[in-house]
């Protein structure tokens, strides 16, 4: 196999495990997500266990992996370097939170739920892509 094929395969495996994780944990169910966000209703703690399990696992994983000089199939690690807090980060996160609270879908579960595609989900996927183009245009105009 060429290294390009191997890279592509590694990407597929990562996506597959991610999708399995979202499905096993119930994050492909907006009701579970909204149940977590509804602190003043019948609170559903599932998302806390998902995020906790993911961060704890990846915290250890990153510490082991980032000791190496470079990734197995790449030239270097692509790590964000910015440290500053700006309005774009906080304003963007706030807009995202409103959309997440309205729908119960963040980008991962929205795409992973294509297995059970519905009209409303398709509508959301389309405008999510439109939103990405809009954000790109906004950032390019500055």
């Amino acid at each position: 196999m060429t290294s390009e094929t191997l890279k592509t395969l590694m990407g597929y495996i990562a996506g597959l495990i991610f999708g399995l994780g979202l499905a096993v944990s119930g994050m492909t169910d907006p009701a579970r997500v909204l149940g977590f966000l509804d602190l003043f209703g019948a609170w559903d703690p599932t998302l806390m266990f998902v995020l906790g399990g993911a961060v704890a696992t990846n915290f250890i994983g990153y510490r082991l992996v980032l000791r190496r000089p470079n990734p197995v199939f790449g030239e270097h690690f692509h790590l964000p370097t910015r440290q500053d807090l700006d309005g774009r980060l906080i304003g963007g996160a706030a807009l995202f939170g409103i959309g997440w609270g309205l729908s119960g879908y963040c980008p991962g579960p929205a795409f992973a739920s294509i297995a059970g595609l519905t009209g409303p989900l398709l509508a959301m996927l389309v405008t999510m892509v439109v939103g990405w183009f809009l954000a790109r245009a906004v950032l390019a105009s500055r």
């Binding site: 390009e4 395969l9 590694m10 990407g11 597929y12 990562a14 996506g15 597959l16 495990i17 991610f18 999708g19 994780g21 979202l22 499905a23 944990s25 492909t28 169910d29 907006p30 009701a31 579970r32 909204l34 966000l37 509804d38 209703g41 599932t46 998902v50 399990g53 990846n58 915290f59 994983g61 992996v65 199939f73 692509h78 790590l79 964000p80 807090l85 980060l89 963007g92 996160a93 706030a94 995202f96 939170g97 959309g99 309205l102 729908s103 980008p107 991962g108 929205a110 795409f111 992973a112 297995a115 519905t118 959301m124 996927l125 405008t127 939103g131 990405w132 183009f133 809009l134 906004v138």
Partner: protein, 153 residues
């Protein structure tokens, strides 16, 4: 409390963490869905797109594998074993929600996976602030929709 749902959440979360570690170990990339797919569709970066397409296909095929196994490994609220839950609203609501999620994650450089799972694992201050911001915004939104407009439904 429903412990079996929580345990499935924990198991799924560990898988998500392993996926993020795997992507960093093999390709040196952050497993942020909005970054991976958003850059793919808006920029189609030359020589840097194949793994993104493969990741997206993997992401979609994860739940498909569970459905094919048919063993009831999903965790849909109220129907244990089902894999994909129903949308929370109709097309008009989801059109608005999608636009906000796309624009917000584009401007804010990440979503629940990039800032939440990966950023928090790196102890990034930007990701911590972003994660707290979108959590609070989402909690307030659900409060308004369910308890102010919806009258506590």
């Amino acid at each position: 409390m429903d412990w079996s749902s929580s345990l499935q959440g924990l198991a799924g979360g560990i898988l998500i963490g392993l996926s993020a570690t795997w992507l960093m170990a093999t390709l040196g990339r952050i497993a942020g869905i909005s970054g991976i797919i958003g850059n793919l569709v808006t920029a189609r970066p030359k020589g840097d797109s194949a793994w993104r397409v493969a990741f997206l296909l993997g992401l979609i095929s994860g739940p498909v594998v569970l459905l094919l196994l048919g063993g009831g490994l999903g965790n849909v609220a109220g129907s244990p074993g089902e894999v994909v839950g129903a949308p929370a609203g109709g097309v008009p609501l989801m059109l608005v929600a999608g636009l906000l999620v796309g624009l917000g994650t584009g401007l804010g450089s990440g979503c629940t996976s990039g800032h939440g799972v990966c950023g928090l694992s790196r102890l990034s201050m930007r990701s911590l602030v972003a994660t707290l911001t979108f959590l609070v915004a989402a909690i307030v939104t659900v409060f308004v929709v369910r308890h102010v407009i919806g009258g506590g439904a």
